[in-house]
């Protein structure tokens, strides 16, 4: 009734990452333009060196607050007027900060771009930082912190990062800041952060979509030429791990029916030369649905709805982390299976079939990643943030294809540190504690 024979693929089709053009504006700002004429949309994205890694340790959260305040009033308009003006054009200017950078972005119909872009430029270069908005956003952050205490997934993420980094590392503190730091942030702190971190020569403006290079350049010059540079000291982040020894950490959550697990350690920076080996290795370990950890914990044992491993790539060393949520009564079993998969990864070559799966997957989905104007703009931003060569996307598939079973084993042995793994469990401590201690994964600490 159905066709038994599996079809063979047709010839591999060529795909090129969208062409883009780079130039420098008169004020020192970088400009990147990727004209894409698929649909009538343009994404505008400004990426600037104002990420949370720049937060003073006593003022963690100031990068996020500063970004969040950009569209709360800029140029001649207050926050409400600005929102109203842009939303009537069918768009909005979003602003946020991650660890490495702050991003201001909007996606808009080309016919509305000429009205919207001057406001976009104001948000980036003429924010007014109203006191009332600062107080409101601070209150929202404090509320969010309260929420996280009751939300096991986010709590597990936050505790994991706190545990793996050395005390005092910016990476060990929440990106949005702690209750103490956020409470202490003043309008002067925000203005000072903006004055020193948001400058043209550390900012790149990206256009992706239905626009020409000439038009993009003209718009950028016209509305941004007034923004003039000052020198800035560059910052490096303290990304040292807290411990070289294995540890188990239980964060009690009474009556929890599941344990949220985070297992991992501090990894390597984004610009590490083993990036491709690590990426493919991670795909096989826990990055794909058909990865070892997911197939083991989900499909073989039914312990979980899903399990994955991943690297959080940053300028400094971000975390390597395996995440899953398992039924409470199988917590120790799930950890044991996960550790066994890590060991297997570090001691045996992966099979040719596993290698083929990971290489074909990463290479095959490459065009699917860039269907939208905003995804192309974000991809260009990554080139800027991590200082990657302009042909990085053009050579991506060749670089993926050069990974071998030997280089994967090398990556696993060099970059996964079994002895330094931190095992973080948010769960029902009364139910799981005994089996966890008995299993002897490492010294157990209960965090109350």
């Amino acid at each position: 009734m159905t066709i038994s024979e599996k079809p063979q693929p047709g010839p591999v089709l060529e795909y090129n990452f969208p062409e883009f053009y780079q130039s420098q504006l008169s004020n020192g700002m970088q400009l990147m333009v990727a004209p894409i004429r698929k649909v009538p949309l343009v994404t505008v994205l400004a990426v600037t060196d104002a990420g949370a890694m720049n937060d003073p340790i006593s003022k963690t959260g100031v990068a996020e607050l500063t970004a969040g305040l950009l569209n709360e009033g800029a140029g001649a308009l207050n926050g409400e007027e600005l929102t109203d003006f842009l939303e009537r054009l069918g768009t909005s200017v979003g602003a946020s900060a991650d660890w490495d950078a702050a991003m201001v972005s909007m996606t808009v119909l080309p016919t509305k771009l000429y009205d919207a872009f001057p406001k976009f430029a104001d948000v980036l270069t003429r924010p007014t930082f109203p006191e009332a908005s600062l107080e409101r956003l601070k209150g929202q952050r404090l509320t969010e912190l309260l929420h996280i205490e009751s939300e096991p997934r986010e709590l597990a993420n936050e505790m994991f990062e706190k545990i793996i980094y050395m005390e005092g590392s910016r990476y060990g503190m929440p990106i949005g800041g702690t209750r103490e730091s956020v409470t202490s942030i003043t309008r002067e702190d925000v203005q000072e952060f903006y004055r020193t971190k948001y400058r043209p020569h550390t900012t790149t403006l990206i256009f992706a979509g239905d626009i020409s290079v000439e038009e993009a350049t003209r718009l950028a010059e016209e509305h941004l030429h007034h923004w003039t540079p000052v020198d800035i000291d560059s910052i490096t982040v303290d990304d040292r791990p807290a411990s070289e020894a294995r540890g188990v950490h239980i964060i009690p959550r009474s009556e929890a029916p599941q344990s949220e697990l985070r297992i991992g350690h501090v990894a390597v920076p984004r610009d590490h030369p083993h990036y491709f080996d690590i990426t493919v290795m991670n795909g096989i370990l826990g990055g794909l649905f058909g990865s070892r950890i997911n197939l083991n914990l989900r499909e073989k044992h039914g312990y979980t709805y899903g399990a994955r491993s991943g690297y959080a790539w940053r300028r400094g060393s971000g975390p390597f982390c395996i995440s899953t949520a398992v039924a409470s009564n199988v917590t120790a079993d799930a950890i044991r299976e996960t550790l066994a998969e890590i060991e297997r990864m570090r001691t045996e070559l992966v099979s040719e079939s596993e290698l083929e799966l990971a290489l074909n997957y990463l290479s095959g989905i490459f065009p699917i990643r860039f269907e939208t104007t905003s995804s192309v703009a974000s991809a260009l931003a990554a080139l800027v943030i991590y200082n990657l060569p302009a042909d990085w996307y053009d050579t991506y598939r060749d670089n993926i294809a050069s990974v071998s079973v030997e280089s994967i084993l090398g990556a696993a042995q060099t970059h996964i540190h079994s002895d330094a793994l931190q095992i973080v469990i948010v769960g029902n401590a009364d139910e799981i504690r005994e089996s966890i201690e008995k299993a002897n994964f490492g010294p157990v600490t209960i965090h109350t």
Partner: protein, 428 residues
């Protein structure tokens, strides 16, 4: 923006929708089965979704988990999802792998049962039980999406019961249930296949005929009971849930016109005026001005039969009581109910909806899913090209009339989450 669409039907009843776009060498294959939790029989809540999991456990010519493996090995992405009255399965693959995606979908549509075993069912039952714990039981407010339909649809109405299902009903599901459900609902005449992206329609048609043409038509499915409901609840509905949360949250639902009807569009715009983006009423009034809430939003379930739900939710800011939050929310709802909306508000909402729609349509997978949706629900994928016009033609008078008719005290369902400890101390 106009999406090119060609649609036809195979002899066995399978509706096929094609949309050609050569902007990237990728293609989306998207299959909607017109079955969801609404079709479950008593004592089998959660079965449609559990069944969706079983569709990834292999079929006559495909091993367990091989579906995922082969698609990812081909450089594609895939998944499936279950909703109250439909279930979808989808792949986006390099366009030279179109035949593979079709073969996989056809094999499980045509010959699933030889691959079903008790052990696979037991494992997926465990997986789904963990999905339930993860998304419902161990998440603050996680029970809302089974409590709200239970509160707002009459008992025995097909939309009343839990989509994810109870542990008890999941445990009761058997291989016989699998066979029965498969034969009844997973038939070509109860499905829509959409292929969108880098295709040449004549080649695609040949492939579809080759892989799906021999699958026999089904014997028809039992009709759903009459799902029509009065336009309003008739009274204020209210449930208070003491949960492991730190912040009070209110879900306020209104019975609203079924998805796709003429009346749906003013309702959808009304939702956007209330809760879409920063400039919406609830965000402006509750989050920015009175600072009672830390977040607020509005959305519809998009149910095409009987009656839909328009839902607004608001979460209290630290230190704000549930009473204060409710008072603030009701003030806004009373205002829109009594005084309606302005044309400027309608224009803002429609402009945002239009841009969002355009953004979504950039992706082959989203395009395919929308075509399948309109073909499945209304028998006409071309309706997708009328969406923008339908939104543009909504007037302030229509939205005002909707708010007048549907947002009064006789059509409000409150699902209110309060922190456990807080209510303990009030009881003292």
């Amino acid at each position: 923006m106009h999406i090119p669409i060609e649609t036809y039907r195979l002899d066995n009843g399978l509706v096929v929708t094609l949309s050609e776009d050569h902007s990237a060498p990728i293609v989306a294959v998207n299959l909607w089965y017109h079955v969801g939790s609404a079709n479950e029989r008593e004592g089998r809540t959660g079965f449609a979704h559990l069944f969706e999991h079983m569709l990834f456990q292999g079929s006559e010519h495909v091993e367990a988990n091989e579906h995922f493996d082969l698609v990812q090995r081909a450089g594609g992405t895939l998944n499936g999802s279950t909703w109250l009255d439909r279930t979808n399965y989808y792949e986006t693959v390099p366009s030279n792998q179109l035949a593979l995606a079709l073969w996989l979908e056809a094999d499980r549509m045509g010959s699933l049962l030889p691959a079903m075993t008790q052990q696979k069912l037991d494992t997926q039952r465990d997986v789904v039980s963990n999905e339930r714990r993860w998304s419902v039981d161990n998440q603050p407010y996680g029970t809302w999406w089974e409590k709200l339909p239970a509160l707002t649809y009459p008992k025995n109405h097909p939309f009343n019961h839990s989509l994810i299902g109870s542990f008890e009903d999941l445990n009761a599901a058997s291989l016989e249930d699998i066979a029965e459900f498969f034969k009844t609902y997973y038939t070509p005449d109860n499905a829509v296949l959409t292929i969108s992206g880098d295709i040449f329609p004549e080649e695609a048609k040949e492939l579809v005929e080759y892989y799906f043409g021999n699958i026999p038509r089904g014997k028809g499915k039992p009709p759903l009971p009459d799902m029509s409901l009065p336009p309003v609840f008739g009274e204020e509905l209210r449930e208070i849930v003491e949960d492991d949360v730190n912040l009070p949250r209110i879900y306020l639902a209104f019975r609203s016109p079924a998805f796709g009807t003429e009346e749906y569009y003013p309702a959808s715009v009304c939702g956007a005026i209330l809760g879409m983006r920063k400039g919406s009423r609830l965000r402006r009034k509750l989050v920015r001005e009175s600072e009672l809430a830390v977040s607020a939003s509005a959305y519809t379930f998009d149910l095409p039969k009987g009656a839909d739900l328009l839902i607004v939710d608001a979460t209290a800011r630290e230190g704000v009581s549930v009473e204060q939050l409710e008072e603030g929310l009701i003030r806004e709802i009373d205002l829109i109910h009594n005084q309606g909306v302005s044309q400027a508000e309608v224009d803002r909402a429609v402009a945002l909806i239009e841009t969002d729609f355009m953004k979504a349509m950039q992706q082959a997978g989203e395009r395919a899913d929308n075509l399948s949706k309109f073909a499945t629900y209304f028998g006409d994928p071309n309706l997708v090209n009328l969406e923008a016009d339908k939104y543009r033609s909504v007037t302030a008078e229509q939205v005002t009339a909707f708010a007048k008719e549907r947002m009064g005290k006789d059509n409000r369902a409150f699902l209110i989450y309060v922190p456990k400890n807080k209510s303990d101390s009030t009881n003292d």
